[in-house]
């Protein structure tokens, strides 16, 4: 790599990666952004799962159908809202979180803007609807048949609900993996709330953006390959899960 960027190389802690830096420093930086990505997205998804799975399971287990027209409407509205939020543009979430956390914003005094916490909050808001939506449909798919079978075999309503959740476990796991896949590849939201600060809030995706802009294509490509490998691993697990689920 011969392209040299001069306006941005003064000191280690606030510059792009130098083109002539040592291999060790190169890999140190790669490791740093990879771990940052995993930490931010991992935390967001774990917290998202602990919020989204119970809500999704509850919504999937509730039987609005046939009770009354009003309840049926509530059901349709609820599902539409969840589905809309599943498709929230991350940049919009980022903007909203930015406005909340910025110094003059309602939560400004916590000083969270441009920290990993701000990025986690952004991704948390993004993944919760995904986890709710996928869990809800996984539970809803098996709800009727499994619940009736369990009741017929002598289960109480509570035992039957537990049987439904057990049968939907592959779907619940799928929701978590899908959410992680969305989070780790997300860039717009965390760029706004994390600020892409080197060594503190720079992640795989934001680093790819900045290194590409700076012309550091070897680094950008390395990061891209790492991201792609993580994505591949996620999809591999998903495919295996779906193949197991397809036997039903």
């Amino acid at each position: 790599m011969t392209l040299n960027i001069t306006h941005d190389i003064d000191y280690k802690h606030n510059s792009a990666i130098e083109c002539d830096m040592t291999t060790d420093a190169f890999w140190e930086e790669v490791l740093n952004v990879t771990l940052m990505s995993l930490r931010v997205s991992g935390t967001a998804v774990l917290m998202g799962a602990s919020i989204g799975v119970p809500i999704g399971a509850f919504l999937g287990l509730r039987r609005f159908k046939g009770k009354s027209t009003v309840m049926h409407l509530v059901d349709i509205m609820l599902k539409s809202v969840v589905n809309t939020f599943m498709g929230l543009p991350p940049v919009v979430v980022g903007l909203a979180v930015y406005l909340l956390l910025t110094a003059s914003g309602p939560l400004g005094h916590f000083g969270l803007l441009y920290t990993p916490t701000a990025m986690m909050i952004t991704q948390l808001i993004m993944v919760v609807p995904i986890i709710i939506g996928v869990t809800m449909s996984a539970v809803g798919d098996v709800e009727k048949a499994v619940r009736e079978r369990a009741l017929s075999l002598g289960a109480t309503e509570l035992q039957a609900a537990w049987a439904v959740l057990r049968e939907a476990r592959a779907g619940v796991l799928t929701s978590v993996i899908v959410a992680f896949g969305a989070a780790i590849s997300e860039v717009g939201g965390i760029m706004i709330t994390g600020g892409n600060i080197r060594w503190t809030t720079r992640t795989l995706t934001t680093a790819i953006v900045v290194e590409t802009e700076l012309g550091n294509f070897d680094l950008a490509l390395s990061l891209g390959i790492i991201l792609l490998s993580i994505s591949f691993a996620i999809n591999l697990i998903l495919t295996i899960l779906q193949m197991k689920g397809a036997k039903r």
């Binding site: 048949a145 499994v146 009736e148 079978r149 369990a150 009741l151 017929s152 075999l153 002598g154 289960a155 109480t156 309503e157 035992q159 049987a163 057990r166 049968e167 592959a170 036997k247 039903r248």
Partner: protein
């Protein structure tokens, strides 16, 4: 002593009457069959008996105690009843855990569970299947696991919804044998729905004909099918049931004139009026005239196609309508459609009567 008494039971789904004023009494320890065409309300009736649906009006009582469908806790009543669904639903776990489920929710001890699961798996001829993945079983094996699930808790009343529909012949005989043995040894009362009249007749003592939600006849087989009443007309809406005048041929078979210029040859000897049926799966379908040992050959055209999952049911019009069951694969390969000219054939020994 009647154990199940159904009184003026009706069920309505969004304005459609599925069951209309059904009255039935099932005696303790008997196997009772409910026959009728698709959509007659057979499954709904069983689902109400299993407390999975509430009747719109009417009552059901078991052992003289009327079931309270509005009660919050219906588990106690349900625990006395076992049901095998037509669509097999197994849990995504081992065969053992599937069969043990009913015992576990009842809080039985581990030792007890092991012993009873083992015994019931032997009964349905699935010994050694304990650790197999339940969702990887064949259709027949899965249905036998479902039967084991219901039997392991030793229910007083067993409800069976088309327990052998679309099963392989070996599974059919295993299921039938297990049912009659359980009935004999445990005195379990059973109510089964079926399309298969000869199965109903071999297992059950009494039968009810259900048609369009109404009971059109109830009694022993002779009482219901032995006379040409309205019940028989209802029965005629089952598949391939014909009525005709029979005479004996020189070869010792019967030739039955069913009208419309059609005569059916049967491998039994009967003279006079006879009601008989031909199982839809016994009829061979071909796009060309067949040369075979089948004594009955007719030409017709397809007037209706009903997708039943792995199999397809075709209505072939040849003076009279015949229902023919073929696999979906054959249906695709033969490129059949409504209006296709086809030839049907069945053996004299496929013609069944009671």
């Amino acid at each position: 002593m009647p154990v199940v008494v159904i009184q003026s039971l009706s069920k309505e789904y969004s304005g459609r009457q599925v069951l209309k004023d059904v009255n039935l009494e099932v005696q303790s320890g008997e196997i009772f069959a409910v026959v009728g065409p698709n959509g007659a309300g057979k499954t709904t009736l069983l689902r109400i008996l299993d407390l999975l649906e509430e009747p719109t009006s009417g009552t059901v009582s078991i052992d003289g105690i009327s079931i309270d469908y509005s009660s919050k806790d219906r588990t106690a009543v349900r625990r006395r009843i076992g049901m095998v669904f037509q669509q097999t639903v197994l849990f995504n776990t081992s065969v053992f855990d599937n069969v043990a489920y009913g015992l576990r929710v009842r809080g039985e001890s581990r030792v007890d569970i092991e012993r009873r699961v083992k015994a019931v798996l032997e009964l349905v001829k699935l010994q050694g299947f304990e650790q197999k993945d339940a969702l990887a079983l064949s259709g027949g094996e899965a249905q036998r696991v479902a039967l084991a699930q219901a039997l392991v808790v030793e229910p007083e009343l067993l409800l069976l919804d088309e327990p052998t529909a679309n099963l392989d012949p070996r599974s059919v005989s295993v299921v039938e044998e297990a049912l009659s043995r359980i009935n004999r040894e445990m005195g379990t009362t059973m109510i089964m729905t079926t399309h298969n009249i000869s199965q109903a007749e071999s297992l059950a003592r009494r039968v009810a004909v259900l048609n369009e939600g109404r009971v059109e006849g109830v009694g022993t087989f002779r009482e219901v099918f032995g006379r040409s009443t309205k019940a028989v007309q209802g029965f005629a809406r089952l598949e391939n049931v014909f009525y005709g005048v029979s005479r004996i041929t020189a070869e010792g078979t019967s030739l039955i004139d069913i009208g419309d210029g059609l005569c059916v040859e049967a491998a039994f000897e009967r003279v006079g009026h006879v009601t008989f049926h031909i199982p839809p799966e016994d009829i061979i379908l071909s796009t060309r005239p067949l040369t075979s040992s089948a004594r009955n050959n007719f030409e017709g055209s397809i007037v209706q196609v009903v997708d039943m999952g792995p199999v397809v049911k075709l209505k072939v019009r040849s003076g009279r309508d015949f229902i023919v069951q073929i696999t979906k694969r054959s249906f695709g390969e033969m490129q059949l459609n409504i209006g296709s000219r086809v030839f049907i054939a069945f053996k004299a020994s496929s013609v069944q009567t009671n």
